[in-house]
């Protein structure tokens, strides 16, 4: 490397290529996230708003009525749905640090029965609520515990128990 091209031990000629990329990395990894954080949420629930939880079929939808004044951080108000995007977005409304969110995920047991499963997260506990109907009988499952235990260490056991729920003939 010729002496006249040295800048801090680097080749000056490489800077016009490297610096724009460095700038792009900084913008993507730090500047954009900082801008996103700086903009406040401003989408308060108006009286009469109803939020989608999901729309499993054309004919019906699952909804709830959020409390007036809470901020909609995620979710679609019935009547304001985008023309071509899916409505199955998990809604989340927040007020003074209290978050209310709902989401549905279908699951299928080892025996082939379908149910709905909801995860929830709180500052101290994580959990799973699941519900399914077996031959007309509703089954409700509640899993709750410290986040680390539920999410990581016991996940496999929880999953195995969930999918093992089934109807059996007595004596089989």
């Amino acid at each position: 490397m010729p002496v006249e091209n040295r800048v801090w031990g680097l080749d000056r000629r490489s800077l016009p290529w490297a610096l724009p990329v460095l700038g792009l990395i900084i913008v993507m990894a730090w500047v954009l996230p900082a801008i996103a954080r700086a903009i406040p949420w401003d989408d308060p629930v108006e009286p009469g708003d109803v939020l989608f939880i999901s729309q499993p079929a054309d004919a019906f939808r699952i909804v709830f009525t959020p409390a007036v004044g809470w901020n909609i951080e995620q979710g679609v108000v019935v009547g304001e749905e985008p023309p071509t995007a899916a409505r199955g977005i998990d809604p989340r409304v927040v007020d003074e640090g209290v978050a209310f969110s709902a989401l549905t995920k279908p699951f299928v047991t080892a025996a082939g029965d379908k149910g709905l499963l909801v995860r929830y997260v709180s500052p101290t506990n994580d959990g799973v609520l699941a519900a399914l109907v077996l031959d007309g009988n509703g089954v409700q499952v509640t899993v709750t515990g410290p986040a680390e235990q539920v999410d990581v260490e016991h996940a496999e056991d929880v999953a195995a128990m969930l999918v093992s729920i089934r109807e059996e003939e007595v004596g089989s």
Binding site: L32, V76, A155
Partner: protein, 388 residues
């Protein structure tokens, strides 16, 4: 070495370690950060979904190898050094994804939602987020590769091929992340089937995904910059870069803009992916044809001294730098299986001479001398098997 052995073209050298080059640091530090983030994500899953993760890893290794082979076949005229190609893959897979795009995507989605409202964001944010951030992040890798070894990036076609590898890395690593997401989606209930569904879906669409968008984008970037064998064409460059983003955007939004314009609503959305694949295939074919013509012309010019000194005939040089059909015509000229095979070997040997010229910058290196001797030997075989 027996006289039946044909010398295989050793590819040119590319030095990934250049501490005096600022691009070296700006390339490898983000790659290492990306690897660190990626390992953190994968190992969390490995603790309870180990088996599934191994299955998918094996699957993707196979998938990567397949695409690798395919992309290598395209780069026929003057092969890029393999170290450079691997570097492109690593930038695309780790730096562009984990160090850059994921942060920017989350942030931009949040910005769209906060400023434009939820319904607007749901409809348009997919089209206006990843296509911009991800194409820029992958394209940045090309700038660094040019700074590290600019002499190998001479034409828009070189940009096209490197772009494909930048995209290949991105595609494969992104797929692994999507699948980790699929494991978690059902909280472990039936992780295998959930993962396999995602896997099947993404392997079908992957071919027309990141690989093609960034091939188009990076070809455009080379036109915009101008290189030693590719005069600067700003308009064409910017058009191709925007086209790469647009293809990506149409794909991510399921061609929502088109259906919205047509008033087709939800019913049309199901057709989105199919249309996206067709659009991408058409555009890439056109850009490939556009860039490869100059690449062939440049390679043919570089072979002129070999033709002048009688190492190869003009006819052979034309075939080597011609289309697949030209090479086929050359191979099938004359009669007899032995003759056709000799002509096939002659083409390979001529490719080796072209590669060695490229590698040694036209200097009479030992390897070039050897490649010429091999070509001469095979050419004699062509003459001796000819029957009229």
């Amino acid at each position: 070495m027996t006289d039946t052995t044909v010398a295989k073209a050793p590819t040119a050298r590319f030095r990934p370690v250049q501490p005096r080059n600022a691009a070296f640091w700006v390339l490898w530090v983000p790659v290492l950060i990306g690897v660190y983030i990626a390992i953190g994500r994968v190992s969390t899953d490995a603790r309870y979904y180990g088996t599934v993760l191994i299955v998918t890893t094996v699957y993707f290794a196979f998938y990567a190898a397949l695409l690798w082979w395919f992309t290598q076949r395209i780069d026929r005229y003057s092969q890029l050094p393999w170290r450079m190609v691997v570097t492109a893959f690593l930038w695309g897979g780790f730096a562009a994804t984990f160090t850059m795009a994921i942060h920017a995507n989350d942030a931009l989605l949040e910005i769209w939602t906060k400023t434009m409202g939820q319904p607007w964001a749901m409809q348009w944010s997919a089209a206006l987020t990843a296509p911009i951030t991800e194409e820029l992040a992958k394209g940045a890798g090309l700038l660094l590769l040019i700074a590290l070894a600019g002499r190998y990036v001479r034409t828009a076609f070189d940009g096209f091929v490197l772009g494909a590898f930048l995209g290949l890395g991105f595609q494969i690593i992104e797929d692994v992340v999507y699948i980790s997401g699929a494991f978690g989606a059902n909280f472990g209930a039936e992780p295998l089937s959930a993962a396999l569904t995602t896997l099947a879906l993404r392997s079908v669409t992957g071919v027309t995904g990141h690989i093609l968008y960034s091939a188009v984008f990076c070809a455009g970037l080379v036109y915009l910059l101008g290189r030693s064998k590719e005069p600067r064409r700003v308009g064409r460059g910017i058009t191709l870069m925007l086209l790469g983003m647009l293809l990506h955007s149409l794909w991510d939004s399921g061609n929502a803009a088109i259906f919205w314009a047509l008033g087709a609503g939800l019913t049309g959305v199901a057709l989105g992916p199919l249309i996206g694949m067709i659009e991408a295939a058409i555009v890439v074919w056109i850009v490939f044809k556009m860039t490869v013509a100059n690449e062939r012309r440049v390679t043919r010019e570089e072979l002129e001294p070999e033709v002048a000194s009688g190492v190869m005939s003009a006819e052979l040089a034309d075939a080597v730098t011609g289309t697949r059909r030209d090479r086929r015509r050359y191979r099938k000229d004359g009669k007899g299986v032995a003759h056709h095979r000799a002509r096939k070997n002659q083409l390979e040997a001529a490719f080796d001479v072209a590669a060695e010229r490229d590698r040694g910058d036209g200097q009479a290196t030992d390897r070039l001398v050897f490649a010429r001797a091999e070509l001469e030997r095979v050419t004699q075989r062509v003459a001796s098997t000819a029957k009229d």
